[in-house]
């Protein structure tokens, strides 16, 4: 008797699973009945929900050093300048000027700015923030004691910053440093461990009202006494989502990015709007030249460039939504991109030729060895991008280079890359559209490093090419934009020849949202994500 029942239950379960699978495909034709009302220009939204994830506590010192962390923190903390589609715009500073050929910057701080706790923001807070950020580098600040000579308060609303060396990037670095309240932080000696509620009091448009580390949820509420443009979104919530597209279709989240395969579903449907992102998020492969002598050979790195078929990578891993990496590192969309650098078109023959020149002329079980019996067999560390690693393994395998894939989770990979604990590694991150000065952070051995731990700055510590370093240090101090562009062009040529790292590809995302619900989304001039822009949530002229 129980046996019969169990057979019935099993067969029922099998049938159920089968049919539920069948119906997955059918949910396609559900809500295609969009109301064709004309969109108003200034739409406001009560709640906007987006896909969450834990990116740490949102103080300028505690958040996780990746885009989704930094930009959530920036909703709470304002800076002197902000980014719009074209460039920097005055923000907490209503005016700014550079003096004495870039040696000094004079910021005029806005009046009537309030902290979330009601106290007024003064020039004193700005001065304190710069000093404090120099002493304790914030997660995403790029100023250090090596840059700033002194900070003075002029009059009651002006701050004069004197830098040690005039530089084209200094304005951006100062302008994007978060301003923190002096009355809260002045007694904090260990900012990384300061995780009180007070640590998230800023002067930005939103207040953090809820954060759950376990669920990866955040809730932001508009700050009523905000000095600046009115918030168009009253509440922003980041919620856990398992299948983003499903959640978006069911209205659980209000924006998502979709792959090219799913794109036709939203195209030609008036209720959806699709925006293509600039290709400023990319993957690169880095070499630990300290441990593995053969990585120090330029020819070896070039051989890997030739062996990799970047178009195939994009086709398979990105489903075609990507731009092949430039050997000069800067992506083609970058304002200082040099289109004439040496590029390595996929060619196994050239790769093999270079490897043979290095002495790896024998094949043993498909792996190249040299006369000393040293095998070209390496560990490749990835942070979950197993499929990408598998394609790379296949490509390099054709040239006789054996790859063992080590997959860890993303945060472990980031940590190991920062500690030089890898042989080969792949890291993917945004920020490729940032000021070209990140080349200096990555490749100059004369490290005046800001102490920032952003993955965009992560590099193999120990790479040294004096010619390149000199050039990159020089561009840092060049004020004239055309002159600087020339130097960056030249640096890209050196990079393309020496390939200390390989930019694999830059990804293109397709963001989909319903303009009916909210349409304020915008891209910052150097960034790949809609939801990361502060101006996406604010009223604009």
């Amino acid at each position: 008797m129980p046996k019969k029942r169990s057979v019935k239950i099993i067969s029922l379960l099998v049938l159920l699973t089968f049919f539920s699978c069948l119906f997955y495909g059918c949910s396609k034709d559900n809500d295609n009945t969009a109301k064709a009302s004309k969109p108003e220009s200034k739409k406001t939204a009560d709640v906007i929900r987006l896909a969450g994830g834990n990116y740490g506590y949102l103080s300028p010192y505690a958040h996780y050093p990746r885009g989704p962390g930094s930009f959530k923190m920036r909703l709470i903390f304002d800076s002197l300048l902000e980014k719009d589609e074209k460039g920097y715009i005055p923000w907490l500073a209503e005016k700014y000027e550079s003096k004495e050929n870039g040696k000094q910057y004079l910021f005029t701080i806005r009046d009537n700015v309030k902290w979330h706790d009601g106290k007024p923001l003064t020039a004193e807070d700005v001065k304190f923030s710069f000093k404090y950020a120099c002493k304790h580098p914030m997660v995403s600040s790029s100023i250090s004691q090596n840059d700033i000579e002194k900070v003075e308060i002029v009059g009651d609303r002006q701050v004069l910053v004197t830098v040690k060396k005039p530089s084209a990037v200094m304005l951006g670095n100062l302008g994007t440093t978060r301003i923190i309240p002096k009355h809260i932080w002045e007694n904090v000696d260990n900012p990384k461990e300061f995780l009180d509620e007070e640590a998230v009091i800023g002067c930005g448009p939103y207040i953090l009202t809820d954060y759950s580390k376990e669920h990866g949820t955040y809730r932001f509420e508009a700050f009523k006494d905000y000095w600046g443009p009115k918030q168009r979104v009253k509440v922003i919530e980041f919620i856990p989502v398992s299948e983003a597209i499903l959640a978006f279709e069911q209205g659980e989240i209000d924006m998502t990015s979709v792959t090219p395969d799913v794109l036709p579903r939203f195209e030609n449907d008036p209720q959806y709007k699709i925006v293509e992102s600039p290709a400023f998020w990319g993957y690169r492969m880095i070499f630990n030249m300290g441990e593995t002598p053969v990585f120090r050979q330029k020819e070896f790195r070039q051989a890997i460039c030739y062996a990799l078929d970047k178009d195939d990578l994009i086709e398979k891993v990105q489903r075609g939504a990507g731009v092949p990496g430039s050997a000069g590192v800067l992506p083609p969309g970058h304002i200082m991109y040099n289109p004439n650098v040496k590029q390595y078109d996929h060619s196994i023959e050239k790769a093999v030729e270079l490897l043979e020149k290095l002495g790896y002329d024998k094949l043993k079980n498909g792996v190249r060895v040299n006369s000393k019996g040293e095998k070209l067999s390496f560990n490749l560390l990835v942070g979950g991008e197993v499929r990408l690693a598998e394609v790379i393994k296949e490509h390099l395998g054709k040239a006789g280079i054996e790859i063992n894939v080590q997959s860890v989770d993303g945060k472990t990979r980031d940590a190991r890359v920062n500690e030089n604990k890898y042989q080969l590694a792949i890291t993917g991150h945004g920020g490729w559209g940032n000021d070209a000065d990140y080349l200096r952070e990555r490749f100059s051995d004369d490290t005046t490093s800001s102490g920032s731990i952003s993955p965009n700055m992560a590099r193999f510590k120990g790479y040294s090419k004096p010619e390149l370093s000199q050039l990159l240090e020089k561009q840092f101090e060049t004020i004239d934009e055309n002159e600087r562009k020339k130097q960056i062009f030249e640096a890209q040529e050196l990079l393309a020849e020496d390939v200390p790292e390989i930019a694999l590809f830059y990804t293109i995302s397709y963001y989909v949202y319903k303009p009916e619900k909210y349409d304020g989304w915008m891209f910052m001039f150097d960034h790949h994500s809609l939801e990361h822009s502060k101006l996406s949530y604010l009223e604009r002229d």
Partner: protein, 315 residues
């Protein structure tokens, strides 16, 4: 079982006394006898059980013959990515252009390897622990049984996830972690059986005549315990295969191996797969084979249980 082996022994003894031709004849008839035995054994199964046996042997064949029937490499791409099933890719390809049929053939090896080695490891260790605990008794028994209680109370999947993440992704670690959580049920079953056997008169008699524990174990306990243990191990195999698939599905298996769970993992982590047609082959076929294997094992173990323990068989 034991009568069968005696017959075999008899046959062997007779063989030595005959000429070559007769040996040949005997050999044929022996083969026939074995075949009849297998057929008899097969006939003892119910219809689902027979279907299970056929299904399982099919999967065994696929795993054994993988290099010859796969047709493509399971590791490198052999066609355009994500093409639907069509010649020469009879089950289509995944997003890297790797043939799915080849992956399923080689994946059968991984699934069987994990299933069988976990079951063997857990069955042998569990069986040994059960015998020790049941035979020696006393405080040893108490300690082991409390340990078993603890293992039963522990929720296995969460702990397996933690352990697998801690030891790092590799097939051996997966097998060890699975075995760690599987030895409990054979241990308990074997122990209760040993406790029951210990009280039997013929065992007592043997003990009085001075039989050593070793002799008792080989001559009396093992023949009685083995069928039960085998049934249990088959059940463990099915469980281990599913557990391996779920650990791989969660991304804790060897990331570049080609197990069925991992194919499913890659398919489901493909963004928006349910909005495309790709799931119809990329997700469906590995799922189908996994189902086939697990259901076959379940049917077989159900019937074996009945055959091994005649009390259950009476309808």
């Amino acid at each position: 079982m034991s009568r069968h082996s005696i017959q075999l022994l008899d046959a062997k003894q007779k063989i030595t006394q005959f000429t070559f031709h007769e040996v040949y004849q005997k050999f044929i008839s022996l083969g026939h006898k074995i075949w009849v035995k297998i057929a008899c054994f097969f006939n003892k199964f119910s219809i689902p059980g027979k279907a299970g046996l056929i299904g399982l042997s099919l999967i065994f064949l696929i795993a054994l013959l993988a290099p010859w029937i796969a047709g493509h490499s399971p590791r490198v791409s052999s066609g355009p990515p994500l093409i639907p099933p069509a010649w020469p890719h009879i089950l289509g390809t995944d997003e890297l252009g790797v043939d799915l049929w080849a992956q399923i053939c080689y994946g059968a090896r991984v699934s069987l390897l994990v299933g069988i080695s976990t079951a063997l490891l857990a069955g042998l260790v569990g069986g040994a622990v059960g015998i020790i605990s049941g035979y020696i008794g006393g405080w040893v028994d108490k300690i082991i049984m409390r340990l078993v209680d603890i293992m039963i109370v522990l929720p296995d999947l969460p702990v397996m996830i933690v352990l697998a993440a801690f030891f790092g992704p590799s097939l051996v670690n997966i097998i060890l972690v699975l075995a760690l959580f599987s030895w409990v049920s054979p241990a308990r079953i074997v122990r209760s059986q040993v406790l029951m056997l210990k009280e039997q008169n013929y065992i007592k008699a043997a003990e009085i005549y001075g039989a050593s524990p070793w002799y008792l174990l080989w001559k009396h306990f093992l023949p009685e315990l083995l069928p039960i243990l085998v049934v249990n191990m088959i059940r463990l195999t099915g469980r281990a295969i599913v557990a391996e698939a779920s650990l791989s599905f969660l991304g804790l298996g060897d990331p570049t191996s080609r197990s069925w769970g991992l194919i499913i993992h890659h398919a489901t982590s493909f963004k928006g797969i349910y909005y495309t047609d790709f799931w119809k082959w990329w997700l469906f076929y590995p799922w189908l084979f996994l189902m086939l294997m697990v259901v076959s094992l379940a049917f077989i173990s159900r019937d074996l249980e009945r055959i091994a323990d005649p009390r259950l068989g009476k309808k």
